[in-house]
């Protein structure tokens, strides 16, 4: 496998992990909205589903993007595909 193919395989795997986490917090948990609402887990005292829609999922997305960016930069560095000065 060429260097570029390996790079793309790692990039694709990272995409799948990122999308899996995204799926859980944007779609997955809301399949069980009514059940979660009854849960005794109450972040800051808010009902669980309510909290996810107000803050939880939103904050997780912010963190997820920064985590994803960091991992992708590592992958690019590993294969020497990061941008250099004068690449524009």
């Amino acid at each position: 496998m060429s260097k570029q193919e390996q790079h793309w395989e790692k990039t694709r795997n990272l995409l799948f992990i990122t999308l899996a986490i995204w799926f859980v917090f944007s779609i997955g948990i809301f399949l069980f909205g009514a059940e979660m609402q009854e849960s005794s887990i109450r972040p800051f005292g808010y009902p669980l589903t309510y909290w996810f829609t107000c803050q939880g999922s939103l904050a997780i997305f912010v963190i997820l993007i920064f985590w994803f960016a960091g991992r992708q930069e590592k992958i690019d560095d590993e294969f020497g595909f990061s941008e250099r000065e004068g690449d524009k």
Binding site: G33, F61, V62, F68, E73
Partner: protein, 603 residues
């Protein structure tokens, strides 16, 4: 001239700007104490901020193509995040979102999840790759990746349909705010709003829009957060509402149980002014089916990733790496406002319905409520209404009606905050609507001037001519948008949601597969764009004209139909026709690695 220096000094420049704005707020507060009329304060707030934006627009004027289309590709990560946040958060987010949460609760919160979750798709599937591509516009990517003017032309059509639907809503919002704050008729205010929008974008294109959007973000976020924190402290709900409103949320649920949701008869409802609503849904409990929630969230997420005015903001960063990080910053700045909207809705609702609070009106006599100053003001503005349906002389929960905008616009006054805050909120709403309208008008006119005029009609056009055409189109599109906005056909929020569905129907899969599926070719992309847009639109028309729909897909989620048709037709047609040539495959390979020159620069 000041350009190089300006980029290096951004934190200082915007730091001074923010400080200056805070001083302005304090001066206005002092003026209010000294007896300045509330009308004059409103005029000062809106006029002062709009003049600043116009000044920035004029200072950023340019005669270079790179600066006009992509701000010279040198906008730093965090500042591009702020600009995107302003670009993104429209008048609807600012003025209508808290109201939507107030009235519809959980079912509406799908929009919050959708409008933030979409950024994960932007960051992971598209933005860094399109930045590496080095295009000026979204159709530029489609046209070059798939090859051929037909694909480019189809992308322009989808872009125009989606963005134009959106922009009329924004010009409408600037008109509404300008008419209230400056006290002029709506029909004229729309054109005042348009003039301010054009001042920000015409001379400097993307460069001017970028730097005004950063300034607008600062105004709108201060205008949104300050009242939320202030009201929360004033009500004794806690100094940091986001973490401290659990008791208030529980109290609302208790009161809702106590009052019950009484259904009004159709005859009674007929007497309520149009556009106003009563509280009929529980505040914090799950009141929508999983599918209703998820389908709406999915449409907003895919739509986010396909709306060109957002995507083109990531063409302005210096590198692929900064484009990726910039998406994270965008979402962070959006998160600051979105996570506050539910808190504002909670505070607003509690202060109105809790009989034990001095501001509470439920349980008071009708005559008492009618005598309240703010009730009279907002009743006159057609945003509040009470009626004694059951004739017992006391105001019940089902007898109180309010417009969605009132949650943001009226709550500061209801909670007894000084008028200076209401002026600030008006300036914030204006900033939110203007920044989005700017981004959209520019997205449309850039696509028409670059993709249609330069790439298809007259590839030999000189720079000066291209920029003149771009500016003429900008003004024409602005006027077209304002003319339609002045007709007031649809509500602000409804048309915003449609824009997402249109964009998702026609552009989501052609964009994503362009990067992630090498086998995708021009006939496939054209089929995907056209059939997606046509089937989505057909479904919308069918449901609007009384069709029953299927699978619980409503007129707000028709993008699911469009995108599904788009995906299937794109794959089938691509596989039935010949694979892209080696040069195109090489192009896709180049897009996938950050290093090296942009794809368009190699050609």
């Amino acid at each position: 001239m000041i350009k190089g220096k300006f980029i290096d000094n951004l934190p200082k420049v915007y730091g001074i700007y923010t400080g200056g704005f805070l001083v302005f707020i304090i001066l206005m507060a002092i003026a209010e104490q000294a007896g300045m009329s509330s009308k004059l304060i409103g005029i000062f707030f809106v006029a002062f901020t709009v003049l600043i934006y116009a000044l920035i627009g004029w200072l950023s004027r340019t005669l270079q193509v790179d600066a006009y289309y992509v701000a010279g590709r040198q906008v730093p990560t965090v500042f591009n995040g702020m600009a995107t946040a302003a670009d993104w958060m429209s008048g609807a987010s600012f003025v209508a979102m808290a109201g939507g949460i107030y009235f519809k609760g959980y079912g509406y919160m799908a929009l919050l999840v959708g409008w933030t979750g979409g950024y994960v798709l932007v960051a992971s599937l598209l933005a860094p790759y399109l930045r590496k591509f080095g295009c000026y516009t979204v159709p530029d990517f489609i046209g070059t990746r798939y090859g051929g003017n037909l694909a480019r032309f189809c992308a322009v059509i989808v872009l125009t349909v989606a963005s134009f639907t959106y922009v009329t809503a924004q010009i409408n919002a600037t008109g509404t705010i300008a008419s209230v704050a400056l006290d002029i008729p709506f029909g004229i205010a729309v054109y005042v709003g348009l003039a301010s929008i054009l001042m920000c974008s015409m001379l400097g294109g993307m460069r001017a829009v970028t730097w005004t959007q950063v300034a607008q973000y600062i105004v709108l976020i201060i205008a949104y957060l300050l009242p939320v924190f202030w009201i929360s402290s004033k009500l004794g709900a806690g100094f940091f509402p986001h973490f401290m409103l659990a008791d208030e949320v529980a109290r609302i649920a208790e009161l809702e149980g106590q009052f019950g949701f009484v259904k009004n008869s159709a005859a009674d409802l007929a007497t309520v002014p149009k556009g106003l609503a009563g509280i009929t849904k529980a505040h914090s409990s799950v009141n929508a089916t999983p599918w209703a929630f998820i389908s709406l969230a999915v449409c907003m997420m895919a739509g986010t990733a396909s709306l060109p005015h957002v995507m083109m903001r990531y063409f302005t960063t210096p590198s692929v790496r900064t484009a990726r990080r910039s998406v994270g910053w965008s979402l962070f700045f959006i998160f600051l406002l979105y996570s506050s909207a539910p808190m504002l809705a909670t505070l607003s609702k509690l202060s109105l319905i809790d009989p034990t609070l001095p501001t509470g009106i439920i349980g008071k006599t009708i005559a008492e409520v009618q005598a309240i100053d703010w009730y009279q003001n907002w009743n006159q503005a057609n945003l509040m209404f009470i009626s004694d349906f059951n004739g017992n002389g006391t105001l019940e929960l089902n007898e109180f009606f309010m417009g969605g905008k009132a949650v943001v616009l009226a709550t500061p006054e209801i909670a007894g905050l000084p008028y200076v805050i209401s002026g600030l909120v008006a300036a914030g709403g204006m900033a939110a609507a203007m920044s989005t309208a700017d981004g959209l008008v520019l997205a449309i006119s850039n696509a028409l001037s670059h993709d249609i005029y330069y790439k298809i009609i007259n590839p030999k056009a000189e720079t000066a001519k291209r920029l003149i055409v771009a500016r003429v189109l900008l003004v024409l599109i602005g006027f077209a948008g304002a003319t339609i906005a002045a007709l007031e056909i649809q509500g602000i929020l409804g048309s915003v949601i449609w824009a997402f569905d249109f964009a998702m129907s026609g552009l989501f899969f052609p964009l994503v597969l362009g990067v992630w599926w090498k086998r995708a070719n021009a006939p496939g992309a054209v089929a995907g764009m056209l059939l997606g847009l046509i089937s989505g639109t057909a479904y919308l028309i069918w449901v609007r004209s009384g069709g029953s729909g299927f699978l619980g897909i409503t007129q707000l989620t028709f993008g699911i139909v469009g995108a599904a048709v788009s995906l299937v037709s794109m794959i089938v047609v691509s596989l039935m026709t010949t694979a892209p040539d080696a040069a195109t495959q090489k192009m896709v390979d180049d897009v996938r690695v950050p290093s090296g020159k942009t794809v368009l620069a190699q050609k």
